[in-house]
Amino acid sequence: MTAPALELVDLTKKFGPTEIIRGVSLAIESGERHAIIGPNGAGKTTLFHLISGRLRPTSGRIMLAGRSVDGLRPYQISRLGLSRSFQVTNIFPKLSVYENLLCATLWSLGARYAFWESLARRRDAAERAEALATRIGLAHRRDVPAGVLAYAEQRALEIGIALGGDPEVLLLDEPTAGMSRRETEQTVELIRNATAGKTLVMVEHDMSVIFGLATRISVLVYGRVLASGSPESIRANREVQQAYLGEATHA
């Protein structure tokens, strides 16, 4: 039996006396598209920070393909094949769209700290960056400095950068936040195509996106997983309805 692509075992995180994550256990299999939902303040982004290495867990374990990664730094986890996007757009403003994507591909292609070869000569990086640009629909904005892009374009670039390293596991933090209906649909298509054969974990608030994309859903409330399962079972779950979905329909 192969290990899950991503496994959390009894994960907790405290900030001083305040416990944000109170014992989360999840096993996400390879190829799953796993959505994490929950009310604001439930700790979803904190969970992403823990998984991607930005924060250290207070206790518990995080395992990537069976290998323990808790306590590792972001660059180490990234090299192991886990990539994430950010809730607040976190791009390289003065570099062009193309250069943003190019930088994202370099480590995984083995370019490392190469100072003896010309960047232009690296066909593999150039091809991958161009392909990515087309995939996220920004090929026509290739040479525009990223800081000048429109909001939705920056969100698309955000996803593109996360994809650059060809990761096995992709974490997307509210990828469609602030987008129009049409932009959301395009982004969902992009995510669906880009994560074919990969493992996706995403935080989202838009229910249509979640129920359209996710193969499994976990509900995070006050730092604990309230329920986890297929979309249908979550939809039917009484507790979840009360804690989260129920409130939304009443609001």
């Binding site: 570099l95 190019l102 960047l119 390293g165």
Partner: protein, 418 residues
């Protein structure tokens, strides 16, 4: 064929300019100045690897410059004493390697943190090395420094490097090499990731790059080129003193790179040339030239954070869009206002200086060419006041027009930020 020519053109032009300069400016003073400019260009380019490329502001960069000079000079003296017969140009590389060695040694500690903390650490390390230079007298030579004779190694390809002309060509050759090398560095994967780290150090880590290692690479390359510049300085002036690694030198290179413009490759080159020249010229004209440098620096930080290169680039873009003509009328109005205000301000500063210098026993006369203005009489003050205030008011009246013209020309583009 056309493309290759277009690519090579700026490089050929630079090489040609470097080679032809002594034919135009022949005096010994000019040759020494140009040599110093060449040295400072390398120094400023090395600094910009840290600031412009990687976003790391160092307040102690002269440490590698100075150490490169000392390593080169000791190596030179030792080689001549041992009759090794190594040619002089080699010792420039030795200085560079010396800089690289210390860049790595200090870098391992200094590069642990980034951002503002990095800057403060470089300040601390700079002071540390500076203080040590007074303690380690045998290496640093105490107050007199260490001297050498650049003709010591004997002729290389027929050149003794005694005459300033030959030293200039040595400097110019290394300068050209350094420009090519630092430019090539910007076109590598490492160079691009440095830029990413500059823009968003956090995200760069999420791309798989260890931040400390990126910084260390930047530190090492910057120290390498600073060491080369230091070695050339030691050869040029045949002396190395602990001033070379002091805070004044660190401040100067920061000034050169920043005023030139850190956002463009040519910025530090322009800045080094301008600041070196101004330093030599201004220090002849007035005692308080450092004050003017400081004020100019603050002016650049406040008003033109992209430096000279940024300012020129802005206008080149406007010219490409055909909008440059629209700016000219407002510039024509602004230029005299700025000139008058500047003259007035300089007069006020100089008169003030004269007035207070009097308390320390100096003359109160401000000499400008054939004129002698007495700081103790009202006349010159009235003149200075009128010019400064008049120019200031005129500028305030004209400035909205300039801004308007730019608004119309730029249409949506934000100003270049540092």
């Amino acid at each position: 064929m056309n493309r290759i020519l277009r690519f090579l053109a700026p490089w050929l032009a630079t090489a040609a300019a470097l080679a032809a300069a002594p034919l135009v400016f022949r005096s010994n003073f000019a040759l020494t100045t140009m040599s110093l400019i060449g040295i400072n260009v390398i120094f400023a380019l090395s600094f910009n690897i840290l600031l412009g490329q990687t976003g790391l502001l160092s307040f102690g960069h002269a440490v590698y410059y100075g150490l490169g000079a000392f390593v080169a000079i000791h190596a030179l003296n030792a080689a001549v004493d041992a009759n090794l017969g190594l040619p002089l140009p080699l010792f420039v590389l030795v200085g560079g390697l010396g800089g690289l060695f210390f860049g790595y040694l200090f870098g391992v500690v200094v590069c642990r943190r980034g951002g503002l903390v990095f800057s403060m650490i470089t300040l601390g390390v700079g002071e540390l090395v500076s203080s040590c230079s007074f303690i380690l007298r045998s290496f640093f030579g105490g107050e007199e420094g260490i001297v050498t004779n650049r003709t010591g190694p004997g002729p290389f390809l027929g050149y003794t490097f005694g005459p300033q002309m030959q030293v200039y060509y040595l400097t110019a050759a290394w300068c050209f090499l350094a420009i090519v090398a630092t430019y090539a560095l910007t076109r590598t994967p490492l160079g691009r990731v440095w830029n990413a780290a500059r823009e968003n150090p956090e995200r760069a880590e999420f791309l798989g790059y260890k931040p400390e290692t990126l910084r260390l690479y930047a530190c090492c390359f910057a120290a390498l080129f600073a060491g080369i510049a230091g070695a050339l300085s030691a050869i040029n002036f045949e002396i190395a003193t602990s001033e070379l690694l002091g805070s004044q030198e660190s401040t100067l290179v920061l000034l050169m790179a920043y005023v030139g413009g850190t956002g463009h490759f040519v910025g530090p080159i322009l800045g080094a040339a301008l600041v070196t020249y101004m330093q030599i010229r201004l220090s002849d004209l007035t005692d308080i030239w450092q004050l003017y440098f400081g004020v100019a620096f603050i002016g650049v930080v406040l008003l033109a954070p992209g430096g000279i290169a940024g300012w020129v680039a802005m206008h080149v873009q406007a010219w490409r869009r055909g909008e440059l003509a629209r700016l000219l009328p407002s510039y024509a109005l602004a230029a005299p206002a700025i000139a008058i205000a500047a003259v007035g301000a300089v007069l006020v500063i100089e008169l003030t200086h004269r007035l207070f210098a009097h308390a320390m026993g100096q003359s109160t006369l401000l000499r400008i060419g054939p004129l002698a203005l007495d700081a103790q009489s009202a006349g010159p003050w009235a003149l200075a006041g009128v010019l400064a205030l008049g120019g200031g008011f005129a500028l305030r009246w004209v400035w909205p027009r300039v801004r308007q013209a730019w608004g119309a020309a730029a249409s949506g583009r934000k100003g270049s930020a540092a």
